[in-house]
């Protein structure tokens, strides 16, 4: 799907006195990907993003952007990267346009181009009507979008977004997700850390799960979910004859495992490997045996990411 690797992280360690924030972490981030970093609090996601943004140095290991090693040319790397931390770094006395103009200035954007870039970015993040409004009066969602515009001010190839959707209302999240897709369409490589797993699954092409500073698994969403025993699943709800339905499903070659839970009627979960034709055969079999099916819902790998995440981070404190 991708032509080349944009960021290569090789055996990176980061130690703060006696605390190991990152341990032997290696990762490759393809160019043009929306790459999700998942892990509980304290897993090392922010540390990794700060290393990638050349804000801190790794204790050991190397980070490569294309063919440039990070510690050899941190200044050049920073020009390639747009960093958005997990807090709003805003100056309350400035208006939205002045705020962006300031960052354009300190990123070396020429005075001639600044005004048009600021106008374009405000339009991109849908803040044109708030152009001359003081930053401190903007809502959280608007500040979030303004910070994203700031990270884009020097047209970076890579965006590092630390918990970009935290605290946003559902509508703002959807808008933010759409905005990231637009940016991906513009060829940006985007690295996002988040706790909101479903959201990451919806917007990311690839994910890496980090636990206690170590990489658990990385790859595209389907691959990660399958690798961690979370293949596709079908959820079947029946009014009655649940035992017959379970038996029937167990006999089918596409079904690997069947479990059930009692609820409003009976719900059966079946691990499944196959295509849409197989799904059709399973539903057809249930109907031909006159089992009263109320709902038949195949769940995609992305939808199951949260379960996978919970299982692998079990016992890890998230405080």
């Amino acid at each position: 799907m991708y032509n080349r690797t944009m960021i290569k992280i090789q055996h990176v360690y980061k130690q703060y006195r006696s605390v190991h924030a990152l341990e032997d972490l290696s990762l490759e981030i393809p160019q043009g990907a929306i790459y999700g970093l998942i892990g509980p609090n304290g897993a090392g996601k922010t540390t990794l993003l700060r290393i990638l943004g050349a804000l801190i140095s790794p204790t050991m290991g190397q980070v490569w952007y294309d063919n440039a090693e990070l510690t050899q040319s941190p200044g050049a790397i920073q020009r390639k990267v747009g960093y958005m931390p997990d807090f709003f770094g805003v100056y309350p006395d400035l208006t939205a346009a002045e705020y962006l103009e300031f960052y354009a200035g300190i990123h070396g954007v020429s005075r001639r181009k600044r005004a048009s870039i600021v106008t374009d970015l405000l339009e991109l993040v849908d803040l044109t009507p708030k152009r001359d409004v003081p930053v401190e009066t903007l809502s959280r969602g608007m500040k979030q979008r303004l910070c994203l515009a700031r990270a884009l001010i020097h047209d970076p190839e890579v965006l590092l977004l630390d918990e970009p959707a935290s605290g946003l209302d559902p509508r703002a999240r959807v808008e933010f997700r759409e905005l990231l897709r637009t940016l991906q369409g513009m060829g940006k490589t985007i690295l996002i850390s988040s706790h909101i797993l479903l959201e990451l699954a919806e917007m990311c092409s690839d994910i890496a799960i980090i636990r206690a500073g170590q990489l658990v698994i990385a790859g595209d969403v389907e691959h990660v979910t399958h690798s961690l025993g979370g293949g596709q699943q079908i959820e079947v709800r029946v009014l009655e004859r649940a035992a017959d339905a379970r038996q029937l499903l167990k006999e089918m070659p596409e079904i690997n495992n069947v479990s059930h839970e009692n609820g409003d009627g009976e719900v059966i979960h079946a691990e499944f490997s196959g295509d849409d034709q197989s799904l059709h055969r399973i539903l057809d079999a249930l109907m031909s045996h006159e089992i009263p099916v109320v709902s038949f819902a195949p769940r995609k790998a992305a939808d199951r990411l949260e379960e996978v995440y919970m299982s692998i981070t079990e016992g890890v404190s998230s405080i």
């Binding site: 700060r50 943004g53 050349a54 804000l55 801190i56 140095s57 510690t71 050899q72 040319s73 941190p74 200044g75 920073q78 020009r79 990267v81 747009g82 960093y83 931390p85 807090f87 709003f88 770094g89 805003v90 100056y91 006395d93 400035l94 002045e98 103009e101 300031f102 960052y103 354009a104 200035g105 300190i106 990123h107 070396g108 020429s110 005075r111 700031r150």
Partner: protein
């Protein structure tokens, strides 16, 4: 370019704050009320302004306003710079500055000049009050210029120390407290040492040398020398066979101290300063390498 962007932002932010207007009002009120109080006192004692006494009153009024202005500068200048860098850290905007093309020099120069611009604005705002002195006479134009130089140099050195404190100390309250301590010592350390030395043995040469060095770097002595310049000259300091007036020696000391503090701030303001410096040297080396073929 990055420097002017930072300076513009700093000036915009600072001058928009309501607090700054109140600082100017309070500043002018203090100076104005003292001037009016002095004139009324003179009026009550002398029964009116007549004859050659007028020029003496002018010189005394000028001296009073100058010393008050010096105290106010020392009192106000640290407030404008002592939270410049750690304030960015506290506001969580520091990382965003580090991610930009802003060099350590531009960052510090922008912050320092913006802070000093506030002080210079206060000095400029007080000029109409000082011009009252010209009604009485007794003050030469060169005195005014040298006094102004002492004010600017004092603001520069005290402001730069505030900037240095904000660079090396994490918490703004602590950096402000340390900057004020330095300002007070800068103002009064010479006089403390002077009185201590007078109280003990007078033949102690090392103490005298230290005292003399402190005298050179003392703003009160420097200001005093500018005021007495029109009244028969002042004692001079001998530096490398040059006889320097105290205000000139003070200017040189301030410049040296400012440069040292600024360079130290530049070392500490960005993380991995050494790595960045070496990287910059490598880049420079590559640019100057003769191309092959």
């Amino acid at each position: 370019m990055t420097f002017t962007a930072l300076l513009t932002k700093e000036l915009r932010s600072r001058l928009r704050r309501e607090r700054f207007v109140w600082v100017i009002i309070a500043y002018l009120l203090v100076l104005g009320l003292l001037g009016i109080g002095f004139l009324q006192r003179e009026n009550a004692l002398g029964g009116g302004y007549q004859g050659f006494l007028l020029s003496q009153i002018g010189a005394q009024l000028y001296a009073l306003l100058s010393f008050v202005q010096l105290f106010l500068i020392v009192f106000i200048a640290p407030a404008f710079t002592s939270t410049s860098i750690n304030g960015e850290k506290e506001r969580q905007t520091y990382d965003l500055l580090l991610c930009s093309k802003l060099s350590a020099f531009s960052l510090l120069a922008g912050k320092l000049i913006a802070g000093l611009a506030n002080v210079l604005l206060l000095i400029a705002a007080s000029i109409p009050l000082f011009s009252l002195v010209f009604f009485f006479g007794g003050v030469a134009p060169t005195q005014i210029l040298t006094t102004l130089l002492v004010f600017v140099m004092t603001a520069l050195v005290v402001g730069t120390f505030g900037l240095f404190c904000s660079t090396i100390l994490r918490r703004p309250t602590i950096s402000t407290a340390v900057a004020y301590t330095f300002s007070v010592l800068w103002m009064f350390l010479y006089w403390i040492v002077y009185f201590l030395a007078q109280g003990s043995s007078t033949s102690s040469t090392p103490r005298f040398t230290l005292s003399q060095w402190l005298n050179v770097s003392n703003p009160i002595s420097a200001l005093n020398s500018t005021l007495s310049a029109g009244q028969g000259g002042v004692t001079t300091f001998l530096l490398l066979r040059l006889h320097l007036a105290p205000w000139l020696a003070y200017t040189l000391v301030c410049l040296v101290v400012t440069i040292i503090l600024f360079l130290l701030s530049a070392v500490f303001v960005k993380p991995n300063s050494l790595a960045r410096f070496l990287s910059w040297l490598r880049q420079l080396g590559k640019e100057f390498q003769p191309s092959k073929g």
